[in-house]
């Protein structure tokens, strides 16, 4: 079991009182799975992803990545885990505007080795997401969809075991969306585990044998089919 959540609960204080974003969620994702969590906006999908990625501390319950409880680790080990095991694709592009496209892609490698050593791989990833030749541009010169593709290239630069993706094809046109999904498919075939949250049933439908989950009002249930 690569990702394992048990009785995960996360609440937030809101003006109207306590809001339960994630309510006693249990989830098990095997190595090599392509798991899609469907749900409407505000159903708690992004919060669940943050909990799994070790970005947010749950009120109760556990998250285990490769058998290690996220919140039994100190900050340093958690950061190392995020850096080495997980590639994040956020709901928005989340690039650093003052870094070039290539520098953004190389950013997660700041600690592993000299980033220049992985430059060819970064260039290859940029080619694969259709941004060959744009490596020296600043993000401000790219469209929203192009920025999203840079973020996708960045998520793969560390050769992670897990990709946590939040609406990864949200801003993309249909052709680019297909290209990106094909890339996901390729990496998934190579053994990378995907956990994707989306409200788009189309994204789920394009993958071969995805595991489907439905998130509703903070609770999660597995679906047998769309």
């Amino acid at each position: 079991m690569l990702i394992e959540c048990e009785n995960l609960v996360k609440t937030y204080r809101a003006d109207a009182g306590i809001f339960t974003a994630v309510d006693r969620v249990n989830l098990a994702v095997n190595r090599g799975d392509f798991a899609v969590i469907l749900g409407h906006s505000g159903s708690g999908k992004t919060t669940l992803l943050s909990l799994i990625g070790g970005l947010t501390r749950p009120d109760s319950g556990t998250v285990r990545i490769d058998g290690v409880d996220n919140w039994q680790q100190d900050d340093a080990d958690l950061a190392i885990m995020r850096n080495r095991k997980i590639g994040f694709i956020f709901q928005f592009a989340s690039l650093i505007p003052t870094l070039t496209v290539l520098e953004n892609v190389l950013l997660p490698l700041s600690f592993a080795s000299r980033p220049e050593g992985d430059r060819p791989y970064a260039m290859e990833l940029l080619e694969r997401v259709g941004l060959g030749g744009r490596q020296d541009d600043l993000p401000g010169r790219l469209s929203g969809g192009q920025q999203r593709r840079v973020a996708i290239a960045r998520s793969f630069i560390n050769r992670p075991e897990i990709i946590l993706a939040d609406e990864p094809t949200g801003d993309l046109d249909e052709a680019t969306e297909k290209e990106i999904l094909a890339i996901f498919h390729d990496f998934n075939k190579q053994g990378v585990t995907f956990l994707v949250v989306t409200h788009s049933r189309e994204l789920a439908a394009t993958q071969l044998n995805p595991r489907l989950f439905l998130m509703k009002n903070g609770t999660l249930s597995e679906m047998s089919s769309l």
Partner: protein, 393 residues
């Protein structure tokens, strides 16, 4: 270990690149920071320079100077007073001195004329050319660099001054004081005492004042008191009193200037703190993204530290170098009137900036360290919060 250094190098790379990426903002901070350091360092270098100059001056100050007072004004002193002082236990030597001013109507300069008997202390000061006159040798003068200019001597080595009865007294230039003694000798004409009496029309048994040397410097105050008791119509001034007066005036002025400069520095630090603590949403988001990508809070702090350190160190170096040039080359044009304004008769002299490790450390501690705190602490506050700010949704 290799990995650690690679990581540090990467963080440093990132910090320097980050500085460059925000060059507009950082150049502004650099300029203001350099200006503050420049002002502070100029002030300190100038203070040290003046202190050293003052020490040089005071080194030449007589241990005790005795002047005769009549109706509250200084009067010429009969040499019989010298004999009475010599009788005091602890007095090593009593030398008569004649001094006054010669006003040069052409240049408007006041030239100090000093005439000494015997082996003058000033006779130990180095000369740029020539030699001191032999004892009793008359009509010869050793003059300062400023006198050469005031009298427009050029290659000429003779000059004349008017006596009070408008007759001329001529002198041959025996020597010219070296420039490094300017603070003492710039406007000075040094003569044998007989020439001084002749120039100022003073009788042979009179002097302007008496210079007293004591056997034991710790006994200066005691000897001075005995002179006062024995010669109640005299004013007795000791070297420690002159030092004290000088220190009081200098400390007051330097204190006022220091308060002004420290206020400017404080304002800058407060401004830096305010700016740094109000991190822009972009900066907060950047920190959040970095943490999501695996950076740890200490990594973020190190980057901010290197950014602040590089910027403040450059500003520190630039400010200190400019201050050195300001004091050494431009003679502290900005501060000289403030620090030296009390002495309108002070001869011109070249300031040599005195750089002491302690002063540099003080400036460093007053400027670089607060700036580092002002950049790192807000980043720490931001980096320590939850990392999901960049996730959205």
């Amino acid at each position: 270990m290799k990995k650690y250094f690679e990581k540090q190098r990467n963080l440093l790379d990132y910090a320097l690149a980050s500085l460059w990426r925000r060059k507009g903002k950082n150049i502004s901070v650099f300029l203001v920071f350099s200006l503050v350091i420049f002002l502070l360092a100029s002030f300190l270098f100038l203070s040290r320079s003046l202190q050293v100059a003052a020490q040089t001056t005071l080194r030449q100050t007589p241990e005790i100077t005795v002047q005769r007072m009549v109706a509250g004004r200084q009067e010429s002193m009969p040499l019989t007073y010298a004999e009475r002082i010599r009788g005091i236990f602890g007095v090593r030597r009593v030398s008569p001195r004649v001094w006054g001013y010669h006003y040069n109507e052409v240049t408007g300069a006041n030239i100090t004329v000093m005439a000494l008997a015997g082996d003058p202390e000033l006779g130990r000061e180095p000369l740029a050319e020539g030699a001191f006159w032999q004892q009793g040798e008359q009509g010869r003068a050793v003059i300062g660099q400023g006198v050469v200019k005031d009298l427009d001597l050029g290659g000429r080595r003779t000059f004349s001054f008017f006596r009070d009865d408008l007759t001329l007294k001529s002198f041959a230039v025996a020597g010219i004081f070296a420039p490094e003694t300017n603070i003492l000798t710039y406007d000075l004409v040094l003569l044998d005492i007989a020439d001084g009496r002749d120039l100022f029309g003073l009788a042979d048994d009179l002097a302007t004042d008496l210079l007293v040397e004591v056997v034991n410097p710790l006994e200066i105050a005691t000897v001075a008191r005995k002179i006062s008791e024995r010669l109640p119509d005299t004013r007795v001034v000791t070297r420690p009193q002159i030092q004290g007066t000088y220190q009081a005036v200098f400390s007051w002025r330097s204190g006022v200037a220091a308060i002004c400069l420290l206020s400017a520095l404080s304002a800058f630090i407060i401004l830096a703190w305010d700016k740094a603590s109000g991190m822009s949403p972009e900066e907060r988001r950047e920190i959040s993204i970095l943490k999501i990508l695996g950076w740890q809070t200490p990594d973020v702090l190190q980057v901010r530290f290197w950014e602040g350190f590089a910027l403040s160190l450059l500003a520190f170096a630039a400010g200190a170098i400019l201050a050195y040039v300001h004091v050494g080359y431009f003679q502290a044009a900005l501060f000289r009137p403030v620090m030296m304004g009390w002495s309108v008769l002070r001869p011109g002299f070249d300031l040599v900036p005195i750089v002491q490790g302690g002063d540099l450390l003080l400036i460093f501690c007053l400027s670089v360290l607060p700036y580092l705190a002002a950049t790192v602490v807000p980043a720490w506050r931001c980096a320590a919060v939850a990392t999901d700010a960049a996730m959205g949704g």
